[in-house]
């Protein structure tokens, strides 16, 4: 079995430099690569382009990189709940490309699957389609969207093994599987590193072939963004 395990976040992030393009999994604060993000802050590299559905909140997730002005450009679908983001965007300090969420997912998957571009109806007739090629199929209009190109994909899984096989949990799965293998180097961080052979081959969400490095995250805060409860009767 080809061993993808590295010992810590330092080893896992070897090779990241200024100006690179990163993909980062997660939806809101759920399933984000917390350890990779924290280490990117420590490394202090900047001029980054980040492809991530959201931009974190002011004091967690990608918000930490925004606070340090390490991000040059964000490609996201939804960036509410982040005042610093909105400030940098409206002031023009931060370049922002907002794209439909399904388009974001499919542009990742296209990169993973070796497809150069996809056609989606999302955004047709809106400013998202401006300057893009459109085309009719069966009487419906579609927008041509290109596969992403990224240097690193940082994903977070629940369980993994040294072969790089991954299993995600609940809705923390989201974009993480679609980003695996969609960048030159995919770095997976996991909550639990399990012995080789203990994951059921039938139940692996992402086979290790899509992952170059895997490590056990030192700590997971797993912050809840909108705690919403039901009253007990």
């Amino acid at each position: 079995m080809i061993n993808k395990k590295v010992n810590n976040v330092q080893e896992a992030l070897k090779g990241v430099t200024n100006g690179m393009t990163f993909m980062l999994g997660g939806f809101g604060l759920s399933g984000i690569p917390e350890n990779a993000i924290a280490h990117l802050v420590t490394l202090g590299i900047n001029q980054l382009t980040c492809i991530s559905n959201n931009a974190g909140v002011d004091d967690f997730g990608l918000g930490l990189l925004l606070q340090k002005k390490q991000i040059k450009k964000m490609i996201s679908s939804y960036v509410g709940e982040n005042d610093e983001f909105e400030r940098q965007m409206l002031s023009g300090e931060l370049d922002v490309e907002l794209i439909p969420q399904g388009t974001l997912a499919e542009r990742c998957r296209a990169a993973q699957a070796g497809m150069p571009a996809i056609y989606t109806p999302a955004g047709y007739g809106t400013e998202v389609a401006e300057g893009k090629e459109t085309r009719e199929f069966d009487g419906k209009m579609y927008v041509l969207e290109h596969a992403f190109k990224a240097d690193f994909a940082f994903v977070k899984a629940w369980k993994g093994d040294e072969a790089g096989n991954l299993i995600f949990k609940g809705t923390a799965r989201n974009f993480n599987p679609n980003m695996c293998g969609a960048a030159k180097i995919t770095v997976a961080e996991v909550e639990q590193m399990v012995p080789l052979g203990t994951l059921d081959p039938n139940q692996i969400h992402i086979p290790g072939i899509f992952v170059q490095r895997i490590f056990k995250g030192a700590v997971y805060e797993k912050r809840i963004e909108q705690l919403t409860l039901r009253q007990r009767d």
Partner: protein, 217 residues
């Protein structure tokens, strides 16, 4: 005049047995509370869950189980989790039967704007553009007018569009409206709201045919 829960209650009557439904943030989320008990409906959330249940009791919340509004949720027996690409396969592939979402503006042509106010509010479209571009059955839940009292049912949207010619039905605090080829067709009035008041509050072309019944909630 309805409040937000009233709007949600009225929309709940549009939900049919066997429907897979995607609920947007805000008023749409409330719809789940009012769906009839005797029909089977499954709620999909685009962040990757089908078969959502009620919010969790205290202590049962799980950071790894949320809806697209980032709220903690629970799941019902038969639920499933999946990745974002598969989630939008459900949406783009028209497997989701009904989409209910909020809007800042709707045009008489069915155009919808709900994701951006230039120079001011830039939250992003999230999954809304995918939803409106693909869903065959879209209901907009919103107030009839904005905070300044201006109509949100327009001849033409003034804000950047989310989708073109896609809205089929609108339920507001004042009325139920169907978007037809000629414009906004008034179907029902909210309790105590006159046709004249709806006309006043609607900038786009309002079609009034015969007697307009009061909503039955």
């Amino acid at each position: 005049m309805l409040d937000k829960n009233g709007i949600a209650k009225r929309i709940a009557k549009e939900v049919q047995d066997g429907f897979y439904v995607n609920l947007g943030i805000g008023i749409p989320t409330l719809v789940a509370n009012y769906v009839r008990d005797d029909i089977e409906v499954e709620f999909q959330s685009e962040n990757g869950v089908l078969g959502m249940g009620p919010f969790p009791y205290e202590g049962e919340e799980d950071a790894d189980v949320i809806n697209a509004g980032k709220q903690t949720i629970t799941t019902l027996p038969g639920a499933s989790f999946f990745d974002s690409a598969m989630s939008f396969s459900m949406i783009r592939g028209k497997h989701v039967d009904l989409t209910i979402l909020g809007a800042m503006e709707v045009a008489e042509t069915g155009d919808i704007a709900n994701w951006k106010i230039p120079g001011k509010m830039v939250k992003g479209m999230g999954g809304a553009m995918d939803l409106v571009a693909s869903a065959e059955n879209i209901i907009v839940a919103m107030m009839h007018t904005n905070k300044r009292g201006e109509s949100k049912l327009l001849k033409k949207c003034t804000l950047p569009l989310t989708g073109v010619g896609c809205v089929k039905k609108i339920v507001t605090n004042m009325a139920v409206i169907e978007v037809v080829e000629q414009g906004f067709k008034l179907l029902e009035r909210a309790p105590g709201v006159s046709v004249e008041a709806i006309k006043q509050a609607t900038e786009g072309h309002l079609i009034i045919e015969g007697t307009i019944p009061e909503m039955n909630i």
